[in-house]
């Protein structure tokens, strides 16, 4: 029986190169969605938002927003196809992006 935990993840693009990044519990912006903090409580969401706002001020990231996601057996699956593509790279060029550099998410853009 797999464990599923629903929640939200903070994501953004890194300012200097535009790469998709995800906010971790340690307050670091990781290229890998599995490192992200998945939160449920309003206070925790607010904390992610505050951290992201700080990272905007220190010019590390831009265009931050929360995405719906779930953790399944320790791996984070973004709810939307769009966000899963951001965790992987283009589905039509699997030789490029996170899926080619070992920082990919564990779930395909389109399943089944």
């Amino acid at each position: 029986m797999s464990t599923v935990e629903k929640g939200q993840v903070m994501t953004a693009n890194r300012l200097r190169d535009g790469d998709a990044v995800f906010l971790t519990r340690a307050g670091i912006w990781s290229e890998k969605i599995d490192d992200a903090a998945l939160v449920q409580e309003p206070q925790a969401t607010a904390a992610l938002e505050a951290r992201a706002a700080d990272a905007v001020i220190t010019n590390h990231i831009t265009g931050q927003y929360l995405i719906d996601a779930e953790r399944i057996d320790g791996k984070i699956r973004a709810a939307l196809t769009r966000e899963r593509i951001r965790t992987l790279g283009p589905s039509v060029r699997t030789d490029l992006g996170k899926q080619a550099t070992g920082t990919a998410g564990a779930f395909a853009a389109v399943e089944g």
């Binding site: 535009g18 790469d19 010019n59 790279g89 283009p90 589905s91 039509v92 060029r93």
Partner: protein
């Protein structure tokens, strides 16, 4: 050959220096994202799903070998070894870093290129017929008047903060290959009884979420009046165009809300306010610009090309490619070579750095050092001797550039879609690839005849789905991609907006649906009747019945 003048050199290098400073100030925090965004957009730099995207302007899609090599160099050094040629006759790079963008702009400036006005609410890169100066049916080369408009509109302070983006398209031929009726302003050349040139002015066309066909506001505008008249249109738009709602801000909405008659009256009143003799373009200036587009020195040759005929006899693949991908040139012995960037299962419009260099070499060697990017995302060698086509084809074939599907169902237009684009609602490229594979056999494609199949991944319609004979629009339904099919669109002189056939399809159902539509056409067509003609005669009913019969 088209070239910049001294003004361009100066402002492009100034602009590159300005951008370097702006980007540095952004990265140091001196500029906020809100302050920086309009600056980067005015230089063609977008933020997409995986990285920044840089859109490079290619006026009239015209490129020299040297410029194409530089695009290849940028692809290899700053991107991931490829670029994407777009429906705006431009090229986009998908993996750009902000910290390297100023260096890329400098590399572009080194070969007289830039990314200015490829984004933002300004007059965008002017597009023209990709066969300009070569097509047999052409009255005149549309590029000199395009260049006049480019020079007038570049960094024009009055038109740098329009309600919304603004696109010009120009054709010098009666058969419209530039989609002029679905642009904000379209110009089409006419000659009067005295042999003078005039321009039909069409306003308010567009695609996106509210597709419209342009209205003709002047049937025959004398050439020297083009700029002052365009100025009058732009002023009316600048004054009356809506700024309260981004989705109602294009000139097509103004035209629709005012009504064509009132819009024309406003333009004419504005035009009458300025005495023409003080604003009209001097013949001297037009002549100067025309020299930039002077025809190359063609040899006098026979229409009969023996090597070409022999090669066709001996090689069936070459014959097929020659039949589909060559177009009639205005000079005997020459032809227009259309290089399809749509190999079986490929990504429409993508070319690797190596392929760009191959095309550059071919252009230098065989086409007076000239190439064009077409709005259908292909590359054109505009001035080639028929006798050289076999040698060209062999090189193309060795580099996966010899798809013989030009103008056929495999020659699909597709936007980057959700694989790259932050605005997309669904993926476009995998749909194009699946259709391309389904109709891989060019013989089968030929049986269907000329069909334009266009795919967009959202309602902004970058993939021109509204004007595809068959259009596919990718949407999102509760997190699932699904695809709406339209029929009967056209971007040519008989422009029309496609009609939605019915409920959408899941991605895996689309290729079969397209086949059903094509087979219905084959069953019902009259001898010699092309797809679009048959659809216009039959209407959507038989296609609907065939598609949804078993549903």
């Amino acid at each position: 050959m088209y070239r910049y003048d001294e003004f361009d050199h100066q402002f492009v290098s100034e602009r590159t220096a300005q951008f370097r400073d702006q980007a540095n100030r952004r990265m140091s925090g001196e500029l906020t994202e809100d302050e920086f965004r309009p600056l980067r957009l005015m230089n063609g730099l977008y933020l997409q799903l995986h990285a920044y995207m840089l859109r490079v302007a290619i006026p009239y899609g015209t490129l020299s070998g040297k410029q194409m090599r530089q695009l290849a160099y940028i692809a290899d050094k700053y991107d991931r070894g490829y670029g994407h040629f777009t429906t705006r006759q431009n090229i986009q790079y998908n993996w750009i870093k902000l910290e390297e963008t100023a260096d890329i702009l400098q590399a572009l400036a080194d070969v007289e290129m830039h990314a200015i006005q490829t984004s933002g609410n300004c007059i965008r890169n002017v597009t023209t017929d990709h066969w300009a100066g070569a097509a047999a049916d052409e009255l005149l080369d549309p590029r000199p008047i395009g260049e006049l408009i480019r020079q007038w509109s570049s960094l024009h302070p009055e038109f740098s903060f329009l309600p919304r983006k603004f696109k010009f398209a120009i054709t010098g031929a009666p058969h419209d290959r530039a989609a002029v009726k679905v642009h904000d302003i379209g110009l089409r050349a006419h000659k009067n009884d005295k042999g003078e040139t005039g321009w039909e002015v069409m306003v308010g066309g567009g695609q996106g979420r509210t597709p419209m066909i342009a209205v003709t506001v002047r049937e025959f505008l004398p050439e020297k009046e083009v700029i002052p008249y365009m100025e009058a249109i732009m002023r009316v738009y600048n004054l009356f165009g809506r700024r309260d709602n981004k989705y109602k801000a294009r000139i097509k909405i103004l035209m629709h809300e005012l009504g064509a008659e009132k819009f024309k009256a406003e333009v004419e009143a504005e035009y009458a306010r300025h005495p023409v003799q003080t604003t009209e373009v001097e013949q001297r200036e037009l002549t100067r610009i025309e020299k930039y587009f002077a025809q190359p020195s063609f040899e006098k040759m026979s229409r009969f090309a023996p090597h070409f005929e022999n090669a066709k006899r001996e090689n069936v693949d070459f014959t097929r490619w020659a039949k589909n991908n060559l177009a009639t040139h205005q000079v005997d012995g020459y032809t227009i070579v259309n290089i399809s960037l749509k190999p079986e299962g490929g990504i429409p419009g993508d070319a690797s750095g190596e392929q760009m260099r191959v095309m550059a070499t071919l252009a230098e060697r065989y086409s007076f050092d000239e190439m064009r990017v077409s709005h259908a995302q292909n590359i054109v060698l505009p001035h080639v001797k028929l006798e050289d086509t076999f040698a060209i084809w062999q090189v193309l074939k060795a580099n996966d550039l010899a798809a013989a599907n030009y103008g056929l169902i495999g020659d699909i237009i597709a936007c980057p879609g959700l694989d790259y684009c932050a605005l997309a609602t669904a993926r476009s490229i995998p749909i194009a690839q699946a259709i391309s594979r389904k109709f891989a056999d060019v013989k089968k494609q030929e049986e269907y005849g000329p069909v334009k199949l266009n795919i967009s991944g959202c309602i902004n319609a970058c993939g021109h789905h509204h004007v595809g004979h068959i259009g596919i629009l990718g949407l999102d339904k509760k997190g699932e991609e699904f695809y709406q099919i339209t029929l009967g669109g056209s971007s040519s002189e008989n422009a029309s907006i496609g009609t939605i056939l019915g409920p959408g399809f899941a991605a895996h159902e689309v290729p079969d649906a397209i086949e059903t539509i094509l087979n219905t056409y084959v069953k019902l067509r009259e001898p010699g009747e092309e797809f679009l003609g048959a659809y216009r005669r039959l209407g959507p009913k038989p296609f609907k019945e065939a598609l949804y019969a078993t549903a």
